[in-house]
Symmetry: C2
Subunit: 342 residues, 2 copies
Amino acid sequence: MTTLTTIEIEPPYLLFIGDMDYELDAKTAFGIAHWRPELCLAQLRFGTEVDLGLPDMTPKDAVAAGARSLIVGVAPVGGSFPESWVESLLEAARSGLHIVAGMHTRLDQVPGLSEAATEGGVRLVDVRTPPTHIPVGTGVKRPGRRLLTVGTDCAVGKKYTALAIEREMHARGMKATFRATGQTGIMIAGEGVPIDSVVSDFISGAAEMLSPDNEANHWDVIEGQGSIVNPGYAGVTVGLMHGSQPDALVLCHDAARTGIDGWDGYDVPEMPTLIDLYLSMARLTNPAVRMVGISVNTSSLDRARGEAYLRELEDRMEMPCVDPLADGVGRIIDQLLPRAGT
Amino acid sequence: MTTLTTIEIEPPYLLFIGDMDYELDAKTAFGIAHWRPELCLAQLRFGTEVDLGLPDMTPKDAVAAGARSLIVGVAPVGGSFPESWVESLLEAARSGLHIVAGMHTRLDQVPGLSEAATEGGVRLVDVRTPPTHIPVGTGVKRPGRRLLTVGTDCAVGKKYTALAIEREMHARGMKATFRATGQTGIMIAGEGVPIDSVVSDFISGAAEMLSPDNEANHWDVIEGQGSIVNPGYAGVTVGLMHGSQPDALVLCHDAARTGIDGWDGYDVPEMPTLIDLYLSMARLTNPAVRMVGISVNTSSLDRARGEAYLRELEDRMEMPCVDPLADGVGRIIDQLLPRAGT
């Protein structure tokens, strides 16, 4: 029997936003509260108007109410912990809350926190740190069905699209599990593997671990990373894709994006070229893989232009093209159902 | 000014083969002695007939003769250090030789070796351990020319072919540097990056570091890793390729290989399909990339059959197809010269 050795986070959560003044800096906390309200018990903040819409609690109150983990749901500038937060985290650990964060500073480097965790009998969970003992990918086909979101670039909605697909599958009564591969995704899912932190020999093995054997009619909906045309990260994208063995790919795009963000001189290729590239690589571990739809963030356009953009794209690509926020992802999921007459 | 932070090994070498009874178990030592005789001063062995053709020396004798590093050139079963070797390594470190190894057991886990290294004022160099502070790949095109060996599978002659190409380029008076990406390659080159041990976010960045800016007519000849059709390692292959920005690819193959070794059910695809896949991915960071030849290990065939195999392959693929051991790699290098009339 194989044990799933992904990172695991124990719910329910006390979401820490500290003194962060801008909602955007607390986007991880907002993401967790939006996608997993059932895991969120309370928020911990001081001196800020930013509000997740959850009850305010001290760590002690939260423990009394049943909370098991404090999640640092903010990304401070520079990625390290301000002094003003440290006392809160120490109190939380001593009170019996596991401490979960995904910042560049490791939790065991926060002064006093390891000792406080020992005192409180809790774990420090760095979601950037991959599990140990990841095997090399085997390429052996696993039972169950898998969908992977892939991108024209980084930060084009791969996580959002995967979460929206999982939610819509559940609404339809389908069996589905979101599989997280990035830090925010792992906090939302409560488990996962930070795929870009895995040693490169084990990328596809980590992806295999993340979506193990399942029932024939169960869908793993896997959060993609990077892009096959990103000069920095395409190796991660390919390894994740090979280990995921996707039956279905969904291409994610931002309508405002024409070049690879942060890589001057690299353009986003034409969609047919990009789709061919994804499929030609994905066929290695699943020859039956299909591109089933395109999920576009059209927030840079007004609604009429956004709709025109999607219509034009759909005519050209001959597959459902949707803005997941405006249109939902139902038309993409329709592509996964057994086809009439088959 | 960028500092090249690859692993570096100080020559000349005392090659350690200990009590290894079989030449195959000492293939790393034989590889170093074959490809870099100018770096090899002596051998250290006890109770074995295996012979690199170098003078036998104790660590003290070797230091007196000018040796700077002891290289563990053997791969013992299980990958850890037998008790009988430890005393030799301690003596070598105390005598002033840097200790270099690429086994699963880290050198600082060998009892007493860290202390002996401090005493001798030497470094312990684990060639499996990548350098720190590797940046994310930038995709910025670097001056100089680059050739990358790629494979139909693992262990099909990518290192051998790259070393043979470097040697032949030098014989022709061309400027060329072999760039090592695996443990044995790093020991042969005296520097390099163990690309499969790098955290996956930094694969292409590590490859960029490995072949920095160079003169316009200088060739970096880069040792490939894995295969684009290996379900375990293709992510490494792609990241290495993107960071290498190769002008030229050479496809390496073993005539005896029909399936991906160790991955049941995975066949080596037809060569045209495989070449298309490599080129379509490599074009991202170098749109002018070409496949310039095929290097085949035909040792499983008798010479007549080997020649027929290569003739048939060459007719079909319309590029030079050679066995590097039997034919040399000159005809592949001819493809890199400025073409008549251009």
